[in-house]
Symmetry: C2
Subunit: 335 residues, 2 copies
């Protein structure tokens, strides 16, 4: 039923070897033979069986991709879709495929990695999280992570310089006359926010400003009412922050709503700068000044790196840093 290389060989009156070579543009085949065979293969709608091909070549042209959290969950973040787009474009251009780390409900990222490497299909893995991936789990597959792992020297990764970004965001506010700026969304569990916090502190120090414990609000989402209470009280104080650096547009938007609800105006009373430059942030009122971390390029570079890596496993550890840009809009006021 399914047509094989033998069928083509028979139809062309040659051996399977010759067909194989013709299809691969092996130079040791006469020009006309090659054309002839290709034409026949085309007519017969022959598609070489990838399984067989991969079995001998040891190359599947498949890269496994694992997302943090549950599959799709992280997708809601606008950051990941852009990353995926970057990954997809270079994968497509290089004729590679992406295999998704699926996983039953509640599976951890380690399990997804495990499952993907065990599948035996992927030649390499892209892990969209900086958490160290236990080498034992990757079954020897090369891995590139998005975000630098704890021991950056030994890893393959693509990342922003998040301490520089945190510093830049903070400085942006300081340079516009803000003396008390808060940091919203710090989560010690995530390297990204830890790095940005570091930059935040540096900027404060360099400006000779104190770094108050109460000013960094270590929450991730505003859903939690306890946390919202903490936030509210921060802005109820007479010496409230006049500027805040938010880890994500979504937080900034929620904060906006809260402030307006409290009778405070943005940027009239409080200026906001955040991260990720999302569509929602652009649609916000006021449109958010936000740092674009170039997720598309992060994705591109990650895919390029893993492809290089599967082809040349001896590639020395590599860390790529993608530049970020402050997108100036209307949520920051100069004092």
């Amino acid at each position: 039923m399914k047509i094989t290389i033998k069928d083509v060989a028979k139809a062309a009156g040659v051996s399977p070897s010759t067909v194989s070579r013709a299809l691969h543009d092996n130079p040791r085949i006469s020009e006309e033979m090659r054309k002839q065979i290709k034409k026949i293969a085309q007519e017969m709608q022959f598609h070489p069986n990838q399984m067989a091909r991969s079995l001998v070549s040891r190359r599947s042209r498949i890269i496994g991709v694992v997302f943090p959290g549950e599959v799709g969950e992280s997708m809601n973040h606008s950051f990941y879709p852009s990353v995926l787009q970057g990954l997809g474009h270079v994968a497509g251009a290089r004729r590679y495929h992406m295999l998704l780390g699926t996983g039953a409900e509640g599976d951890s990222i380690a399990e997804a990695v495990h499952q993907l490497s065990d599948s035996g299909y992927a030649e390499g893995l892209i892990v969209l999280a900086a958490e160290a991936v236990p080498a034992a789990h990757t079954a020897g597959l090369p891995v590139v992570t998005l975000g630098h792992p704890a021991n950056a020297e030994n890893g393959y990764y693509v990342d922003n310089d998040n301490v520089a970004a945190g510093q830049a965001a903070t400085r942006y506010l300081l340079e516009r006359g803000h003396k008390r700026v808060a940091l919203l969304g710090y989560d010690p569990q995530f390297m990204v926010t830890a790095d940005r916090r570091k930059g935040y502190q540096q900027a404060l120090e360099q400006a000779g400003l104190p770094c108050r414990e109460a000013d960094v609000v270590p929450i991730r989402y505003l859903e939690n009412t306890t946390d919202e209470g903490k936030l509210r009280s921060l802005f109820e104080r007479p010496d409230r922050p006049t500027g805040v650096v938010c880890m994500d547009d979504a937080q900034a938007i929620a904060l906006c709503h809260m402030l307006v609800d409290m009778g405070l105006s943005v940027p009239g009373d409080v200026s906001l700068i955040s991260f990720n430059d999302t569509p929602a942030g652009r649609l916000n009122n006021p449109p958010l000044t936000s740092i674009n971390v170039d997720p598309y390029q992060l994705g591109q570079k990650a895919m390029e790196l893993i492809i290089r890596l599967v082809k040349h496993p001896e590639t020395p550890p590599t860390g790529l840093t993608i530049p970020f840009a402050i997108m100036e809009r209307d949520s920051v006021r100069t004092l």
Copy 2:
């Protein structure tokens, strides 16, 4: 280097056939032998080569998934991430993998389908769009689409009853005293919006209300200023609509901004009901009354259907309808 079934056989002092059978829990192997072999395999960290396995079994346990538009692009829509989550959960539970339709910049959905089926890895395809997929492109692979194809009788698909949904949304407004309701976001290119429009018209007719051409605004996004102009003029008229059905929360949010900008209040002057029940819609001020089409379940059912289909290709054409629900919030006022 990479350890094979032969190595395990040698270590266990049996033939490869026996190892294979033990690993597959073939009943014709003694209990102790099975355990023994499994233990050894485990210790040796043996992972059977999937390529070889698939080559003989003709089963890859891989389902190809193609998204509309460019890879990742559609992900920004919150609808697709949820679908993906549904797909991923059942795939994971059934030990299936998902292969993404990648594609170079600007590739069409047809090309993605083509590329995926040509890859030879996928046993079946899920196409997240209702556009008819030319059979010629699928190379005989079973396909399930999200959204009913033009000729629903012959297809395999999962969908909402979008005419009922359009009708329900419209009726929701009519029942609350609205006499003139507009429809925003109609795009003849998409079956979904065409179906909803049909439902909108039915609701109007059933209420004995006229269906004015000017009241259906056939645009997709509000980015386009010309379109915004058209919209504005619609609401500048004294007999402006008091209610509008939006195809998506994002449009409703943008419309909200526009109305506020025009000095109109939501829901004071204009009531809004939209589709997709997104996080952004919930965070909007006011929170949006929106129809949840249950994308997660759409994904689950689609994956279940394709898996059934690859196992039993003789399954007769099947169309699954997923129920929707109106999530009542604060963007609709009773007149």
